[in-house]
């Protein structure tokens, strides 16, 4: 029965009493993202009166030692919020720690006891979120143990959050899903893709479906191609050993960027609800044309950065990074050309690229429109080609949306020049947007899965990239094939040139 007292416009979504169990609590993700986000939620008074965090890792430490470590992390990694010592004291009173090995059944028995204690002392109402902030290889053992120990069921709700990568290929993704479904119901499984929690990615749906002017041109009649770029200027920063196991295709394209592509290309849902939105994303991903392993070389390019001098620094190539094999075949750059076989998008290429050691850090989506059917005017730069209109959604570093169009240059004659019409978040929305993790943590605690990946979405995107993975595994690349500080291998440019296209410089 609907609550007759609800006022959705004015009331904040309420986070219910709960305990958050973080496996891998001594790891990077907890320190850099989870605890700062939770602290910020406490700062904004979004956490309930009754809550607790129970961290776990192998490291032996007391509750107080854990609190001290987390205090240092939050202080260090809090980005746009002052650190308030008084608030921290209140916050830290809800932090607890339970050491133990995730392969030890006794650890889970101890965890169960502590959760029950917290239920008494902190009135967590039996609700528990299990956050797997561990290496992916530990997901299945932890999930299985949660099932066997009875922790996956309790008085209240029991949910699990897992981070990407969801498997390292299609088979392992299916295996992971089977394991999850053996312990949790699908609606209690939250596969986090933090890109979906970014305000700018969420804004794509508002932009497309909240305005009347864009959807009529959001199709193959008007759009020439779509380019999605996620570029980093840094290298692997000491995490070469971990990165070797994944690469750009698995680390970025299979998950984040395909979800961004789905958001750009999906059909509008009938109602804006969790399952209907995810249904449309999943449908879009299933509509991506599957390539065979033999076709992959024409539609996907792998790259690996080599040494270079950038500014006054000599930066090493990937193979010279610590922890990386001298003959590593890992792709630090990947570019793919995809097509969506549906009425809206047939024939429109979606070019997706991601890489490390590119000239700058930028993530954006560029929608290039078809040129005007008749060129009445000369363009100012004299190359005679005419610049197509672009709609650019900037995800980082400066969130916003731009439209590039041609305008007359002042003066006599009719010479045109491209100009930009900009929307910046800062100009219109003041001080601060919540971080992706703040948004996603509130969502999982209130039980809203709209911004989380579903099993079918994960498997659909693995299905798309699997032929590329199979092709790359079967080949030996002549790496490195791009210099650090450049926009990637020449083969990526050739892939677009075959269609008469070129990568834009973001």
């Amino acid at each position: 029965m609907a609550n007759p007292f609800r006022d959705l416009l004015r009331f904040e979504r309420r986070v219910p009493p709960c305990a958050i169990v973080i496996f891998g609590a001594n790891g990077d993700l907890t320190k850099r993202k989870l605890l700062p986000a939770l602290y910020r939620l406490a700062y904004d008074r979004r956490l309930p009166a009754s809550w607790a965090i129970l961290g776990n890792s192998r490291t032996e430490m007391t509750d107080d030692a854990f609190r001290e470590r987390m205090r240092d992390s939050v202080k260090h990694f809090l980005e746009d919020t002052p650190f308030d010592e008084d608030l921290w004291k209140q916050f830290a009173a809800n932090l607890f720690y339970h050491p133990g090995d995730i392969s030890d059944p006794a650890m889970y028995a101890g965890l169960d006891r502590r959760l029950k204690e917290l239920g008494q002392t902190h009135q967590t109402a039996g609700n528990a979120l299990f956050y797997l902030s561990t290496q992916p290889s530990y997901y299945q053992p932890v999930i299985t143990a949660l099932g066997q120990s009875g922790l996956a069921r309790g008085e209240g709700w029991r949910r699990v959050v897992i981070e990407k990568p969801f498997g390292h290929d299609l088979a392992s993704a299916r295996e992971l899903n089977r394991c999850l479904r053996g312990v949790f119901d699908e609606h209690d499984v939250y596969r986090i893709d933090h890109y979906l929690g970014k305000e700018t990615v969420q804004n794509i749906l508002a932009f497309r479906f909240g305005n009347g002017i864009f959807e009529p041109v959001w199709n193959r009649r008007y759009i020439n191609n779509v380019q999605i770029t996620a570029a980093e200027s840094i290298g692997v920063e000491g995490r070469g050993g971990y990165y070797q196991e994944s690469g750009a295709l698995r680390d970025m394209i299979q998950n984040h960027l395909m979800q961004v592509m789905a958001t750009i290309a999906m059909e509008p849902p009938a109602v804006f609800e969790s399952e209907t939105v995810r249904d449309e994303r999943a449908k879009l991903l299933r509509s991506v044309r599957l390539m065979t392993q033999e076709q992959a070389p024409m539609h996907a390019v792998a790259g690996q950065y080599g040494a270079a001098r950038i500014g006054s620094d000599d930066v090493p190539g990937f193979r010279e990074e610590p922890g990386v094999a001298k003959d590593s075949q890992t792709d630090t750059y990947a570019a793919v050309e995809l097509y969506v076989d549906n009425w809206r998008w047939a024939g429109v290429p979606f070019y997706i690229r991601s890489g490390k050691r590119l000239p700058k850090r930028v993530t954006d989506i560029a929608i290039q429109f078809n040129s005007a059917p008749l060129r009445l005017f000369n363009s100012d730069d004299g190359d005679g080609s005419g610049r197509p209109n672009l709609l650019i959604v900037r995800i980082q570093p400066e969130e916003g949306i731009s439209i590039r169009f041609l305008s007359k240059s002042p003066g006599s004659g009719m010479r045109l020049r491209p100009v930009s019409m900009d929307f910046n978040y800062g100009t219109s929305f003041g001080e601060r947007s919540p971080s992706a993790y703040e948004t996603l943590l509130v969502d999982v605690l209130v039980g809203d899965a709209t911004l989380y990946s579903r099993q079918d979405m994960v498997e659909a995107s693995w299905t798309v990239v699997q032929p590329i993975i199979d092709d790359w595994n079967a080949r030996k690349f002549d790496f490195p094939n791009y210099e650090s500080g450049t926009w990637g291998p020449a083969a990526a440019d050739e892939m677009l040139a075959r269609n008469g296209h070129a990568w834009r410089v973001p």
């Binding site: 609550n3 007759p4 007292f5 609800r6 416009l9 004015r10 904040e12 929305f429 003041g430």
Partner: protein, 291 residues
Amino acid sequence: MPAIAPERVLKDLDELWKGLASPEAGVSTESGVLRACAMTFIVALEPEDDMQAVGQTIAELIHQHPSRAIVLKPGAEAMPLDASVSAQCWMPFGKRQQVCCEQIEITAPPADAVQASRLILGLLAPDLPVVLWCRGKAWLKSAGFGDLLPLMTKVIIDTGSGCGLSEIACLRSSARRVADLAWTRTTRTRQEIARFFDDPRNAGQVDSVNSIVVPSGQRYIGAWLLLALPGRKLAMDGPPSRIRLEGPGIGFDFAIAPNPESDYPLLNEELGITGPDPVFEAVLPVAETLA
């Protein structure tokens, strides 16, 4: 009273921004200055208003709701219309760029608001929402001010101080949307009641409630409860600061949340709502019958 043309004020704003961007002003950083504006926010002051306190509220509000703020100050009778421009700037925590919002102060006698209204008409930021916060009745009663109302996306008054229900009734005939800070003050209390009944164990007892008791004067809360629980008996003579819902064998008590220390949280909430407010629009006619 000599008029000031909007073009003069807009030119002053241009000069202001040029000045802010220059290194000599000491505002601009390496990353420049960001001119932020998502709405026109007009604040019509009363003669007895504490300018500093209101200025502080505006300065806090524009962090979340960057605006071209137009502050309408009541001047002495026969005093000439005067307008001046300034900017409020701040550096968001952790960022390196100053964010600035422009502020226009117009001083005019409320008794003759025609020139002030015409000036304001020419200063509205194009194509963006316009919100008017009337801190009392002084401007609402004046001739000429009514011309502005149909252009307002929203007019905010406070029947808890200064205005009465008659002002709301009058405004609803000319302004698109009206908000009342007396209603905004009820949000925290209403939220607690709603959260209580989010619990299925409590929700199951809602049907058994047959009587509502609220303190005298709490017409909005009374009206809201009557709408949520139609057909129940409402008594408006309860103890101060308490709400009680009763039925056979059941009784629920709720405390009315204390008022915030400043208007900032109330205005912050209202500025975030520029579209329809269906709950308030349903409550208002019921509340009018309870006054």
